[in-house]
Each structure stands twice: as structure tokens, then as C-alpha cells.
Amino acid sequence: MSVSARLRIISALAAAALLALGGILVGTFREFNFAKSNATLANAISDNYFQRAAFRDQYFLFREAHLRASWEKKRRLADELLGEATEKFTREREKRLLEQLRRNTDDATQLFQRIVQNTEALKTPGTNKLIHEELDRRLYSQLLLKATSLQNAALALQSATDERVEATYRRLSITVILFAFTLGIGSIMLTLHLSRLLKQRLLPLHDGAQMIADGNLEYRIEDGGADEFSDLAHSFNEMAIKISAMQLDLANRAEAAEAANRAKSAFLANMSHELRTPMNGIMGMIELATHRATDPKQLGWLNNSKASARHLLSIINDILDFSKIEAGKFQLSEEEMDVRVLPFNVCSMVAEGAAAKGLQLKTDVDSLPPKLLGDSTRLTQALLNLVGNAIKFTRTGSVTIRAIQEDEDAHSVALRFEVIDTGIGISPETMGRLFTPFEQADASTVRCYGGTGLGLAITRRLAQLMGGDAGVDSVVGEGSTFWFTVRLRKVEGDSPASMPASEAAMAELLRERHGGTRVLLVEDNEVNQMVAQAMLEEVGLVCDFAEDGEIAVGKIRDAQPGTYALALMDIQMPRMDGVTATKLIRQLESGKKIPIVAMTANAFNDDEVRCLEAGMNDFVSKPVAPDRLYGVLLKWLA
């Protein structure tokens, strides 16, 4: 039976019991009131008798007319009281006593009247006084007899009605007690029943729900009942089944998403490699041609080619960077750096373009800590994006690069970089879209200025990765202030010796310290071979070639120990890739100590990790920047 039905039945039974008892209570109370009014009436009858007795005795003593009148008045009242009592008294005993009272009252009345008559007769002259006096005495004696009976009957009636009051009062008390008792017992039983019900039925539900909440989705709440708790248990079980199915579905989806992500990463890695490899070749060839060209006309063409290649490379880099960031594959390096020089470096990078447009370049650098830990390349990139845009969109006036320290705590410093231009300004509605990927101020911008529309989005993402954000404040017609903030860690303890910063200085150092040193270049692509060779020979190093991993392993195995001071290792190669080759080299006696630097277009961190795990010492991504390559060479040749 359902709990609500059970509660309804219990309530109905309790209500019926209380109603019945209430009815009895009301009935008993009415009976009590009735008995009380009867007792009052009996009391009045008794009182009336005693008052009459008093007047009767006084009359017998004094024979005065007013005493007789008073007696008669009381007698009439007695008739009224007895009449009222006849209507109200219903019990046999009471009726019998009433009848006795009425009969005795009648007898007493007649006797009293005879006494009165005899008294009058005594006053008549010639009456036999002795006989009348004897009669008077005799009548009075009989009157007293009747009075005794009358008194007894009146008292008996009073006692009978009192008993009835007492009895009804006792019944009333018992009913009240029973009423309270029933109410009490009913409440206790209801409470016990409910508590037992809750204990028996709710506890398994609670335990079951707890089990399901704890992840035991196979658990099923056992319930054989047919009430609301069973419904609830059934619902819990259904819920567990559905959650279980949803969890399985989610796991499948997550796996699918993971697989898609892996595919995307692989695609990105491939794209990176496929795009950068030819770019490396193009730029390297142009670089070589520039070095050999003497004809100014050819030199001009080569420089134009170089600029185009660089532009293309920057676009590729932007797309790949953004993809990496979005794929969550982007990782910042943390190395000691001097943020103070950052604005100046950027200035030098764009100085040519600014000068070409007749724009004034200014720097405003706050007093900043000389040494901080951060990714200078990415900071430069972020700032360069803003400065490049400013120069691009400013026709006249100036572009100011400002670096401010915003905040500082024990371990880090918050920096704010601002690029203030005197350009066309940006409307508020456009500002909202500016940092959205692939958005520009308007469609015409692309036609006028070109670009991917990724620069600002990358800057913002980079700033966010460095614990800050990016934004713009602008007034149309007055110019704009693009800014980004970052939080960089302070350098704690001793820092490693700093490297020379410029490519020329590093090249010079290499030439001085490692001129004539032999390096093994493992590279399958001929163009890249040429590029790398040119860079190495530029700094006085001697270059040996291996076209794939297998050849490289052979060369190192066959060579005298110390023949090669370092190996530059491409990763993707036919026959044997760089990772496998490195592992084999490391097994050779002659290859155990040789520094191996990966040089690959696979520019993701995963690749770097894979290379390092295979036993390589460092990692240079393609297209190879000479300063990066020289820095690595300086580090490992030493």
C-alpha cells in the first residue's frame, strides 16, 4: 500500500476516533449540565420544604394569619417546582421520589388546612375545647409524620440528583482522559510508524543514492515494496542506468576528441615542417645569393625577394603560432632576459619601415629591473605585432613604445607595454572586434594593408599566457593606444653567464674560439644542406655531410673519436630518421659524448621532447635563424 494511502487511512481512523470521542464528550458534557440543573432544582425543592416547615412550626406556635399566608405562598412555589421537576426528571428513582413528594405535599397541605380549620373552630363559643385541642395535637403529630416523609423524599431526591451529577462528572473526566489518551497514543503511534517507515524505507534509498553518488553506477537499490519509496528507488536505479550510459558516451566522445586533437597536432606538425622546409631553402638561397651578388640591380631584386620571403614567413609563423596556441600546444620558454632593451630592439626592427613612411619612432622606458625570467622571443613578437600595426595604420606623426612597471611582489613584476600612435583612431564598436582572430577593423583594411588579422589575437593570447591581457584605448581621429600586460618572474640566485646578444658578436666569437672545428651536418634536403653549410662556413666551421641517419651513424662509428665536435641532425629523413640515428649513435663508443643538436621544421614542443629523450642535446627549429644557430653552437662547442 502506498505511504500516502496509509497516511490517509491513519488520519481517517484518528479523525473518526476523535470525532466519536468528541461526540461522546459533547454528549456527556450536555448530560453533566442537565444533571447539574436537575440538582439545582432538587436543591430548590429541598429548600422550599425547609422554608415551609419553618412557617408551619411558627404558625403552630402563634396561629397568626400572615404565617399561614407565607406557608401557602411557599406551598404554591412547591407546586411550581414539582411541576418543573416532573418535566425534567426522567429516571425511575427520581420519578418515584417526585411522586412521593407530591403525595406527601398534598397530605401535608390537607393536614395544615385541617389544623387551620380546627384553630378557627376553637374560637367558636361553646366548642368542646378539650377535644379540639386533642385533635389539634393529633393533627400536628400527623403533619410532622408527613413532614418527615417529605423531608426524607426531598433529601433523597437531592442526593439522587447529586449522585447523578457526580456520576456524569466522573464519566466526563474519564471521557476527557480517554480523549487525551487516544490523542496521545495516536500521536505516539503515528510518530513511531512514520519513524519506522522512514528508517526501513528511506535508509536503503539513502545508502543507494550515496553509492551512486560515489560513482558505483552498477549498484541497484533493492526494493520489493509498492509505495512511493519503491517508485523513488526505481527512479534512482533508472537514473544510475542513464548516468552510466551518458558516462560511457562521454568517454567515447572524449576519446574521439582526443583522437581528433592528435590528428590535428600531427597535421600542424606536418604543416609546420612542410611550410618551413621550403621557406628555409628560399631564404637561405637568397641569403647566399645576396652574399655573392655584385650587380646592384641583382642585389635589389634579391633584397626584394628576401623581404617577400620574410613577409611570407611571418604570415606562416603567425598562422602556426595561433594554431599552436589554440591547440594548447604552445609553450613559453623561461630564460633570463633584459626587458629594458626590448623596446629598442623592436624599434631597430621596424626603424626602416617607419623611416620610409616619415614616421617618428619614440621609446619611453620606465625604470625596469634589468634581469627577469621570460620568453624574450614571444615578448618581442607580441610587441612587434602592435608596433607593426601602428606603423602600418599611421600616415603621419609618431609611434611611441612605452614600457611601464605596473606592480611588483616578492617573486614577480607586472609590466605594461603600450604602443601609442597618432593614426586614424578606432571607433568603439570596432574596438570590440579587434582582438578577435581573423577580424580587422573592416574589410577594406585587408585590401589596403594586407595581413592575416591574427597579430592582435596572438598578442592577446601571448599576454594571457604570460599572466596578463591586451587591449586598446582609442579616439577616432586622434590616435590609439594598444597595450598588453605580462607578469614575469624575478631572477632568484646567481644567473648563468650571459650570451652575447647580437648575431655579429656571436659569429665573431665562434670564429675566434672554434675556427676549423669539424661539424657533421645530417640533412637530406640539398637546399637546406647548402643553407646550413653557408651559415657554418660563415663562422669558420668545417662541415661534413650525411644524407640520412644511417650514413650519419656510419660516419661517426668509422671516424676517430673527437673528429666531429658536434652533429646537426635533421629529424625527418629517408631510410633512418634523426631520432633513431641519435639513439644508435649514443650506443657507439665514439658517439656517447658528441653534442647532437636537432635542426628540424618539426617545431612543436612534443618534437623537442622526443629529440631530447632520444639523447639529443638541443633543438633549433627551421627556418634556422643564424643568431639562434650561433648561440646554440657557442653553447655546445664550449
Partner: protein, 333 residues
Amino acid sequence: MWKTVMAIVTLLIIAGCDNSTPSTPPRAATEAPHKISVAYTYQPQSTLIHVAVAKRYFADEGLDAQLLQHTHGKAALQSVLDGKADVATVAETPVMFSILSGARIFVLANIESSTLNNAIVANTDAGIKTAEDLKGKRIGYTPGTTSEFFLDSMLTAKGLAKNDIHAVALKPDEMQQAMQARQVDAVSTWNYPLTQIKHQLGPSGVVFYDRQIYTETFNIAAQQDFVGKHPETVRRFLRALIKAEEFVEKHPAEAQDIVATAAGIDKKLVQEVWDAFNYKVVLDQTLLLTLEDETRWALKNRLTEQSDMPDFASYVYLDGLMAVKPDAVLIRK
């Protein structure tokens, strides 16, 4: 749990209804019966004795009752005074005379009262039409009984003195014969002779009642010595009479049959006089008042050698009835 609840409810109800019922003390089956000899009359005043005998209430109370039937109460009392019986049924007048003459008796209970049992039945052929016509007539009466007291009261009520008539002393069983033989013109008597004489006179008979001048009581009397020695017997005897009272009230027709059979009286006669009697086992003030009233009369008419009013209350034994039916004891000593 229900059993506990029901038990508590039952206990509560029992506690609330503590009406203990008086009950007869258990009697050992082997206990020897209490002997008692009862001197009673065949008159209607002794109805409760007749019923108690017929319904075996005495035996039920463990009494071995020996019955001595008399013509009237004075004779029954005499047999108690003579030591022939233990208890007697008797009207208050013989009791009063006995006490005045020094008898050590107790009245145990009043078993009947009536204002219509005593009357004067007269022969109209003797020139008696009204009560006043009794003057100068020969009127029979039984001295020392209610017959004498009633005659005196009746005469007084009619303004006559005893010397205004010719009073003729007769035994109760002589009255019918005396009337028939015209030895008397009227008699002051009680039932059954009263109604029998009236029937015998036929159209010549006239009966003078006065309900307001006299109230007869019939009582149980015993020697004080007997009561002192056998209080338990007295209680059992009274208890049997109370049972008879209840029976008479509930079954009057059956009681009339019993009385007719026991007294050898025609049932019609029994029924004719039945309503004149009030059969209740009580001890109330009526008895004392009547005894005192009659004593004053006896003293005034020099019917006794005593000159002082005795303390009649000391001749009433209350303990017996009080033990058996306290509600019936209405005497305030």
C-alpha cells in the same frame, strides 16, 4: 504494543468506575444454619414474611426459620415476650404498651406502613350514616392495639369523647361474629376483618376512614437479649426481608398469590386491600413520632401506670439494618 495500550485503557476505565457493589458475605456451605423462630400474623402487614418464606429467602440467608402464625401482632409480640419466639411482626401500639410496661425489646425494622388499613366499619341498620352518628353507639375494639388508638383518634376528629360511645372490648377474631350477632353497631379494626365485615354487611355496611388522623406501622420486634446474642442472625433475617421487599415491588401479582395462599385468604380480597399498604424495610422518624404520640395519648387516658415519656430511640436497633441497607436508616437519634 496494542495489548499494552488496551490494558492501560482498561485499567483507566476500571479506575474511573470505582462503584463497589455491596455483596452478601460468602457463607461456608458447611456452616450450620442460624435458627430463628418468627411470630407473625396472617394479616397483609406481614406480606414480606410470607414472601420471604415462600421464596426461601430465609433459607438462602442460612436461616432455619420456625414460623408461628398469629391472628394479630399483639399476640405475636406476646409470644416473643413469653420466650416462645425470637422475633415478631407487630404494629407500633403493642410495642409502645410493652415498652411502657418495662419490656426490654428492640424494634429492628419497620416493614409496612399505611394510612388506610385502620377504619371503623358500621351497620347502617343501627342508624349510623356518618361518623358523627357513632355517638351513643356500641363500638367494638381490641384494647392495647391500633384498633383502640384509631377509634380514639377518629372520635376526636369528629368532636366526640370516648364516653360519648359504648366501647366494647373484643378480640380481632370475635369482631365479625359480634357484628353479625348485632352485639355491636360498629367495630374499629384492620384488614382483613375490616373488608370482610364490610362485605358481610353488604349494603348495610359503611366504612369511616381518616387518612390524616393516623398512620399505622408494622414492625419487627425482638428481645434485646436475643439481638445482643445473635446480631448476625438479625442481619440475615433483615437481608431476607429486603429481598422480599424487592420481589414485592417487582412482582406484585405473584406476591399477592403468595399472600393469598399463605393466609388462606381469597385472592380477590388480597387484591382489594393491596394498594392500602406500603411495604418498605426502613427505620425512619415516623416510628418514633407515632410511638411518642401514642404514649402521650396513653398517659393522658391513664392506660399505663407510667408517667414519663420513655426514650424510644433507645428501643430502636439501628446496627442491623445499617449493616444491610444503610440507605434505609433515616432515624436521627
